[in-house]
Amino acid sequence: MTMTVLLIVLALLFTAAAVSYFFWVNRQTQGLTKGSEDKSQIPKDEEYSHMIVHELRAPVVAIKDSASILLSDKLSEGEEKKMLNLIHDEAKKLLRQISTILDAAKVADGKLSLKKTRGDIANLVREEMALFQPEAKRKNINIISDIEPGLPSFFFDNVRITEALNNILSNSLKYTNENGIIKVNVTKGGENVVISVADNGIGIAAEKQSRLFSKFEELGGSMDKKKESLSSGLGLYITKWIVEAHGGTIKITSEEGKGTTTIFTLPLDTNEPAQEMP
């Protein structure tokens, strides 16, 4: 077991280091290139790199330290299992973060595309909510849903819509306090399906709301004055792209101290997409 854990940890550390290095070099190079035209871009590029490294370090540190405690042989069987579960969950988090970074780069380069298949949106929402229930239970947060029965199947990119909903639910869960509530509604509105996620969490300051869909490098201010995880700092940027690429719209309304509601629409596209040319 110990050898398996070590191999997992080493592989993850290597992956995180490689991605961090890639983006660091990439951004530094871009900053230097842009710097000859516009010096103001350099700090933003540096800040982007710092934020990426900071976010990648969090799960890697948790994995490294869990493995370190496991190797000390000081834990009870129950505690060992807890640490192994933590390594598993943090490894998954790290993989999601790497995907988010790569997707953000593809969006910026215009290289992200959709692969639509006919799907059941109600089922997708239920499955995604089920994934968040264990974490919600740990935080004593109630996730409830109201899904209109009989919603028709339609063409959408299952993977990308799952990613968008994941980003929105992650944010709600992260910024909702203990004993809070998250309500997910799915209804048909004209020729669209309307999905809303409403929480009674800490909300978002008015001055930040207009910039929510920007990458965190563009939010301004210094790093110690804001809290954006990859799910909020890059996730909403990608989420907006996903929804709009489907022909939908997305809107966030929020009041500080009272909560946040994210509503997005997806057209009920029943036309089979044209096959892409090889």
């Binding site: 330290d65 405690i69 800490i202 790093m223």
Partner: protein, 132 residues
Amino acid sequence: MKVLLIDDDEAILSVYSTSLKSHGHEIITAVNGKAGLEKAKTEKPDVVLLDQVLPDIQGNEVLRLLKDDSETKDIPVAMLSNFGQNDLIQKALNTGAVDYIRKYEIEPDYLDTKIKAIMKSKQSQADNEQTF
């Protein structure tokens, strides 16, 4: 020692709590700045380990509020962060942190060593003040 650990990263809370408990410390946790400030007053911890980046109030602001409050100003606070820039470290130390711990540079056992060093330093300071 009674340690208040303020961090919004549940994984880190779990890892650091497990490690510190194995060294005999009593651990209280808070996942945001507001809860951390409340627990600092009600629980009267011997030391606070405070994450730099929190979802509601930033770590530096929590630190400033702890140091401005007569009930909590004497509790040593060590900052924790995955940021390692010198300007952030200097700002935290200037605001009254006794240390700035880069999470990615330490092993979990280091926290126990650090807490013992902080408490020893506090005791020496108290002894010196009594002498004068």
